[in-house]
Every structure is written in structure tokens, then in C-alpha cells.
Amino acid sequence: MNGRIAIAIALVALAGALVFAARPHDITADERIDQITTELRCPVCQGLSVKDSTSETARQIRDLVAQRVREGRSNAEIQAEFRAAYGDWIFLSPPVASWSGLIWLVPIFALVAGLVLVTGRLRTIDAPRPAEPSATQVAALRERVAREEAAEG
């Protein structure tokens, strides 16, 4: 009984913590800067975000993003500024609404193709095999073959 109460309390606490964590709250300027720079690719690094890079170029980009946030620009406006200079390459994840966004379709296409191929193969395996001809059918066929051979002489 005590165990059940403890589990119930734990579940309620967990649910409360989740609700608290997911509550709508005003995002701070620093959180916005982190959010934007996490999505931007460091131009002089190998697969690192601007936020994670210690390079001078990344620092300059962070400073520029911070200034734009202070100026009241929206995330979309700041992203558009970097897209204008570097193209979609500057984003670590290709934007969905672009040609490079087609890359997101590849796994879906591969999954569908695989499912269709597997289903097709399974159907072939499960398909009922044609029944063996009956003795009467075999006898009739033999008689026909013999007749045609005799006719050909």
C-alpha cells in the first residue's frame, strides 16, 4: 500500500515537473542568441555550430547575432541575413522549404521503397502454388501429345 502511494506521489511530481518545464515563458535574449547560433554552421570549422565553435569567425557571428537581437530583429530576419550571404549552407539542418530540403524526403522514399519491396517479396512467397494436375488431365495431355506427334508423322 505504501509502495503504491509512493509511486503515485512520484508520478504526480514527475507530471508537475514536466508541466513546469514545458510552461510557456518569455524567451530571454541570451536564449534566442543560443537558439540561432546553434542552428548556424561555423564557416571555418568541420561540422561545428557557431555556438560550439571557439574560432574568431564564430565569435564575430555571435556578436552580430547578439546585436541583431538587441535591435529587435526576428529570428527569421536574422536567419535571412545569413542566408543572403552564405546560402542555405550556413544552416546545419537544411531548411525544409528549399531545394536542399528535398534531402528530408530521402529517408521517407527509402522507407516506402523498402516496404513495397518487402511486401512484394512476401506476397510472392505466400502466393498459393498451382495445384498438381490430376491423373485424368495428365492422361488427356499425353493422348493429345501422342495424337499431334502422329499427325506430324
Partner: protein, 178 residues
């Protein structure tokens, strides 16, 4: 029937991938036409490294402008410098303007390098890197060719040679005459 369609689709997709890769590998990695190329050049006003005033791109409208991003700590910049010096001497006093934009170092270091390397053209200080970022520069050296119409006609990533510089400049001059 459906499986056959899927098989054909897979073959077509692989062929498309092969063609795309073949075309991509044929491309000159120094000539990347993304971002700012074929768009109006971002305007800028920067101070000269030697402190003798400012240079504004807007004042150079109607001229062929070659913008070269460089730094003293960049070895390929040192390698390409003789070609830039020759091209500067060739077009000195003409409708072609060469601008050097110094990146990611102190003005003292940049100026010492400019004097040591005999760079007679206007060299500017991009202290906070904003101009380089607006042009989509990955790192020095990079060279942009801006036509008399103010549009970036081409971009060269990495050390540039004299022939590439002259060809790009003459193409823009010929286009301006037409």
C-alpha cells in the same frame, strides 16, 4: 507490378545521384556561386589601415571593383600577393579599383604586412568582420569581382593567380563597354 515501379524508381534515383555527383565534381571549387554572387554587392564604408580616411564602395559606382579579403597570418594570402601587385600596376589609374580588406587581426599587424608586401592599393580594416560576413566570406584569401553595375559577378575562394584576375577584370570591362 508495384515492385517493378519501385525498382525502376530506385534505378532512376541512383542515376540522378550519379549525374549530380559527376556535375558537382566537375565544378571548380574556387568558383562557388552561392550567397552573394550575382546579387548587388553589400555596401560598406571602412577606414584605411593607415588611418588616412575612409573608402566607401558607393563612391566607386561605375567602376570595376576587385575586393580581396586578406590577413597577414594567412599563408595563401602571401602566395597570391605577387599576382595582386602585378595586376594593380597593370590597371593603376584606370577604371579598375583594387581594394584589400584586412581580417581578424590588429591594424598594426595588418599595416606592417601591407608595407612589407608592397601593397600600394587601398587596404581597409574590417575590425569586427561585418563586411566579410555580409559577403559570405569563409576565410582569407577570397576575391570578389564587382561590375560597374554594382553586382558581384564572381568570387574566387583561395589564392588567386594573375590570369584569373585579368580574365575576370577584362570580362567585366568588356561587359561595361557593350
Amino acid at each position: 507490378m508495384l515492385a517493378r515501379v519501385v525498382r525502376i524508381a530506385v534505378v532512376v534515383a541512383l542515376l540522378a545521384l550519379t549525374v549530380t555527383l559527376a556535375l558537382a565534381f566537375r565544378r571548380d571549387p574556387h568558383d562557388i556561386k552561392t550567397g552573394t554572387v550575382l546579387k548587388p554587392a553589400p555596401t560598406f564604408t571602412l577606414q584605411r589601415l593607415d588611418g588616412s580616411g575612409e573608402v566607401s564602395l558607393a563612391d566607386l559606382s561605375g567602376k570595376v571593383v576587385v575586393v580581396n579579403f586578406f590577413a597577414s597570418w594567412c599563408l595563401p594570402c602571401t602566395q597570391e600577393n605577387p599576382a595582386l601587385v602585378r595586376v594593380y600596376e597593370r590597371y593603376r589609374g584606370s577604371d579598375v579599383v583594387l581594394l584589400g580588406v584586412n581580417l581578424q587581426e590588429s591594424r598594426e599587424n595588418g599595416l606592417a604586412y601591407v608595407q612589407r608586401m608592397g601593397m600600394g592599393w587601398a587596404t581597409l580594416a574590417d575590425d569586427d568582420g561585418r563586411v566579410a560576413l555580409s559577403y559570405g566570406v569563409f576565410g582569407p584569401p577570397e576575391t570578389f569581382f564587382i561590375g560597374p553595375d554594382g553586382v558581384i559577378a564572381g568570387r574566387h575562394i583561395g589564392p588567386i593567380d594573375e590570369a584569373t584576375l585579368v580574365t575576370a577584370i577584362e570580362t567585366l570591362r568588356a561587359r561595361a563597354v557593350r
